[in-house]
Subunit: 372 residues, 2 copies
């Protein structure tokens, strides 16, 4: 089943509005999710509505939140997310960092008391639209990754993004969990009833597994690098860096705090955004030309497989976007069914295509099934 | 054979001076190398003199360099290294970033036309001494890492460092090559005649190998994460980020440029340094307390092996330092022999202990030997 970007956006918006979000805020949040689906980042697209729906039932989210800057200098701002979802404060934070970097050369914005904000690349790409380098990092709520040598989880997926302008429309955009894979990819394997490739995670005893449920139910995700001998302590170190920048700098609840969260609403997630103006050091045209040349040099590397040319961070997502702008965004039956139930339960308009007869028969299942 | 920190420092200083470096500069460079040896980072200690000695014979290094700031704002500086080694310009750059972050909240310093500067942790730790977050990255000269899916090397070890103040004397210090291991570790295996653990590198055809010579002579180092399926594209993405920050921002020669370098002296390596003042967002005592608590929470994780407690980035190096301050810094016979020859050839004072009879007999060998 396939829909265009606008349909994904309207479906997400109608569900956010049904949950009590004002129209302007719902539009922003929906834009972030639909952007991820358009770029092939399904784990950060409207699939997140399933997770948000579970979370709002265990801990109230402030859908009427009024994010505000509470402290500011020429190069920095501290923003309070007011216990809502993270999309709106994250957009404001990146816009603030961009404005400060345009005026003063650098902008660093720390966000506290916020929530999940979707794909980091959405925000760092915006910096490149303004001829700036963009950096983003966020702490998360789910604890699923042990420190190297540890037998209990202390980290989440703790993502990091770095983007730089190059040729117009072709920025370098690195957006990565500091785990081998993001939990969203594991979650989607559950939704679609599939096994994982090896190396993604461990069960509750730390034993490698292919079963995504064993990872999500008491098991662990691996930090980037895997075991200590293959330098998993570097992925662990990057995850700690992300938490220091996102939580310690903003004063959000530490992911290791057993009383998480210290705020009345939401998850008290912290974010970190930065924009740097390359014109501090060189004419922007020279910088862009060098980044573009560097990326082209990498793309020109002789490939191991002649059918698979070497790509640069941002290329795979642009390729998917170009395809999906023509043919639409696919959605699996498991996710379609879950979203349909969420829309029904919350009284939201149903914007996606109607469920097939098969899907309707399965609508009472709480778990996805393998294809019959 | 063991010596104290001061002896390592004086040996390095005497060789730098014999190469034509003024005393003040030689003292700075020697301090960076001896610091690495003291902290157990042998690959970035006086072992580097062997590599510097090889390089200065193939491409002239400006030992009389006069690094200078060529462009500056309240939050930034561009520094030209004048074709010398990188220690002196890197120290100046980090000091400049620190001064700007103390005054304006953030300091970003880009360095061009520089050379190798030793261990990044030396510099980022200095930021933490001033209650600041420190970040450092550098491009390198040796090309040894293919992009994911590529059959030719395009990257070096492209290191990244992030440090944050916590308890006094116990900062968080991440200092990592974006490869599984740094080339220095592979080089030291050659010097001492040992094989590598698995997962560190590939031979010239991209086949995994345990032979460090196969890696250093036509083979490849693996990006962090290894193969694409285990997310090696993330290590590749981090390496590209480091090159964009270090080379593209400063205008240094791109690592992919076949005409490397475009400068008359040295290797035209670029560096990136940043300091961020946490007081922009929170009282510094609160920030330090949260980082300290976070690190202690990680250390308290139940360990897989009860004899190996979980450590935090910076802990292993502090542990080694505490031991070596008591018992001295060990040096292997291969390195001792090579340094002795360099001192003899350059007319430098010999400060380390005299070579043993065995070592003298082997002094004519150009390659290290396995123990007989």
């Amino acid at each position: 089943m396939r829909h265009d970007f606008e349909t994904h956006r309207r479906q997400a918006m109608s569900i956010f509005r049904a949950w009590g979000m004002p129209a302007e805020k719902a539009e922003k949040s929906a834009d972030v999710l639909a952007w991820a689906d358009l770029h092939g980042l399904e784990s950060h697209g409207i699939a997140l509505l399933v997770e948000y729906n579970e979370r709002r039932q265990t801990r109230p989210i402030n859908f009427q939140s009024k994010p505000a800057i509470v402290q500011e200098t020429a190069v920095s701002a501290l923003l309070d997310g007011d216990g809502g979802l993270g999309h709106d404060p994250a957009i404001r934070a990146m816009e603030t960092a961009i404005a400060k970097a345009r005026a003063a050369g650098v902008g660093v914005v720390s966000v506290r008391n916020s929530g999940h904000f979707g794909a980091l690349g959405y925000f760092t790409t915006k910096a490149t639209d303004h001829d700036l380098i963009g950096i983003a990092a966020t702490s998360v709520f789910g604890i699923r990754v042990p420190p190297t040598g540890g037998a209990a989880a202390r980290f989440g997926t703790d993502p990091w993004s770095f983007a730089a302008p190059a040729e117009p429309g072709r920025p370098f955009v690195l957006d990565m969990a500091t785990t081998t894979v993001a939990s969203g990819k594991v979650r989607n394997k559950i939704v679609e009833g599939q096994l994982m490739p090896s190396g993604w995670g461990m069960d509750g005893k730390g034993v490698p597994t292919l079963d995504p449920k064993a990872v999500m139910e008491g098991g662990f995700l691996s930090p980037l690098g895997g075991a200590a001998e293959s330098a998993g302590y570097k992925g662990y170190g990057l995850a700690a860096m992300v938490n220091i920048l996102a939580s310690c700098l903003s004063g959000s609840t530490l992911i290791t705090d057993p009383n998480h969260s210290k705020q009345p609403w939401g998850l008290d997630v912290g974010h970190f955004f930065m924009a740097i103006n390359p014109a501090l050091f060189r004419p922007i045209a020279d910088f862009r030309a060098d980044v573009a040349r560097f990326c082209d040099d990498l793309r020109a590397t002789p490939p191991v497989d002649p059918l698979k040319p070497v790509q640069v961070a941002g290329d795979p997502e642009r390729k998917v976007r170009a395809e999906r702008e023509k043919t639409g965004i696919p959605i699996g039956p498991g996710l379609h069914r879950r979203l349909h139930r969420i829309a029904q339960e919350s009284g939201a308009d149903w914007v996606l295509a109607p469920a097939s007869v098969d899907s309707l028969q399965l609508a009472g299942d709480s778990e996805p099934r393998a294809k019959t």
